[in-house]
């Protein structure tokens, strides 16, 4: 799939799409199928309120609190709910932990399943055909395109989200971060590190 709506050669199709969406939305409101304030609120929530900083808080807690980490790996949905992150597209959460010997990464080959309450809406590349096609078949080559190179003896586990289970990756805690607070650690947790296509950032000294 092309990038969403900013390729120049899509010009005419794009303006058709814009007009079609305007017409559709007007009809939905006029027919009283949707409340216009509901539309604005949905956009505001997913554009401004829900995003990967949520997941970063969960990861940082797991790095600081081993008992929480254990519980998170056993019952992710409940543990994540303790932060108030729950509901749509996060009803059934699983957390997979990256270690020195196992690297986990997540894809949805059939559509775009993604854990919204902890990561927000997925980036274009996650939903687009190249990642969905290649993540399961050549994960190391895909990781290399994200700048991630793993040891040859690290096992790569790719999780294809074919059902209603949603996956959050617990990245490895970067070295030399013992002095950092939970909040400072959360700043090292990137979105991609929680999808498994990246690593957590190194601490700046």
């Amino acid at each position: 799939m092309p990038h969403d709506g900013h390729d120049e050669d899509e010009g005419s199709t794009l303006s058709e799409t814009v007009l079609r969406v305007k017409a559709l939305e007007s009809l939905l409101v006029e027919k009283n199928y949707v409340d216009p304030d509901t539309l604005d609120q949905l956009i505001d929530i997913y554009e401004h309120k829900v995003g990967p900083r949520n997941g970063a808080r969960v990861v940082a807690r797991a790095w600081c609190d081993d008992a929480f980490r254990q519980r998170l790996l056993e019952d992710a949905t409940t543990c994540i709910k303790e932060f108030g992150f729950e509901g749509r597209q996060g009803e059934h959460m699983l957390v997979k932990e990256n270690t020195d010997t196992i690297h986990n990464m997540v894809v949805c080959t059939l559509c775009s399943c993604y854990p919204w309450p902890v990561l927000g809406l997925p980036p274009v590349w996650y939903k687009a055909a190249p990642y969905r096609a290649r993540a399961v078949a050549e994960p190391r080559a895909v990781l290399a395109e994200f700048g991630v190179t793993l040891d040859d003896d690290t096992e790569v586990r790719v999780w294809d989200s074919t059902a209603e289970l949603r996956y959050l990756i617990l990245p490895m805690r970067p070295k030399n971060t013992e002095h950092l607070s939970e909040q400072q650690l959360a700043d090292l947790v990137t979105r991609d590190s929680m999808i498994g296509t990246g690593l957590a950032l190194e601490a700046t000294s």
Binding site: M1, P2, D4, G5, H6, E10, V18, R20, V21, K22, A23, L24, E25, L27, E30, K31, N32, Y33, V34, D35, T38, L39, D40, Q41, L42, I45, Y46, E47, E86, G87, R88, Q89, G90, E91, H92, T109, L110, C111, G120, P123, V124, W125, K127, A128, A129, R132, A133, R134, V136, E145, F146, D152, V156, R157, V158, W159, D160, T162, A163, E164
Partner: protein, 218 residues
Amino acid sequence: MNGGQDLGGKHGLGPINPEQNEPVFHAEWEKRVFACTLAMGATGEWNIDAGRFARENRHPADYINASYYQVWLYGLEVLMRERGLLVEGELETGKVQKTRPVKNLLRADKVDEALKAGGACDRKISDSAQFAVGDKIRARNLNPKTHTRLPGYVRGKTGVIAAINGAFVFPDSNAQFLGENPQYCYSVRFEATELWGNDNNSGSCVYVDMWESYLEPA
């Protein structure tokens, strides 16, 4: 269906091209499609599996060439037309020709509550699971023209049950409004060499979430 959405293992699609500092939406119309789709989903006129089928059930070239929110727009139009919520000519003229009340209208003051509630798909069933962790299974070679969550790249392949995730609504029947038919959903581990052969595939594996009726003992 063996459609354009079933992408695992396909070639020729190019590099991943992640965008740096990507915005949540790239255009105003994307926001509107996103919100209209969620709000219409809340009417209860269809379910999530029927929604997925509406998006994928089209010419594979059109599916792959459309942008993500164009796919959503297409799916929403299909679902509405099927139920008479949108009739021929309305989008073109912008004039309402026919309408009826929807089952549920999501009011703005109920949005937070609705998102928090979500839509759990796990169900209690009395049957016991047919497979146990460690069992060797083969993915059945099923090719329904209707909705399925059994990806093509695992069909006929052998894997091992890694976990039993509980019983979940079965999308294949739910998408056709033939009932939830909940059944056990397993996490199944497939070695990359089993899926893709022996070239450059050492040291990786794929875990796929699979409903019981997708599996047979191996």
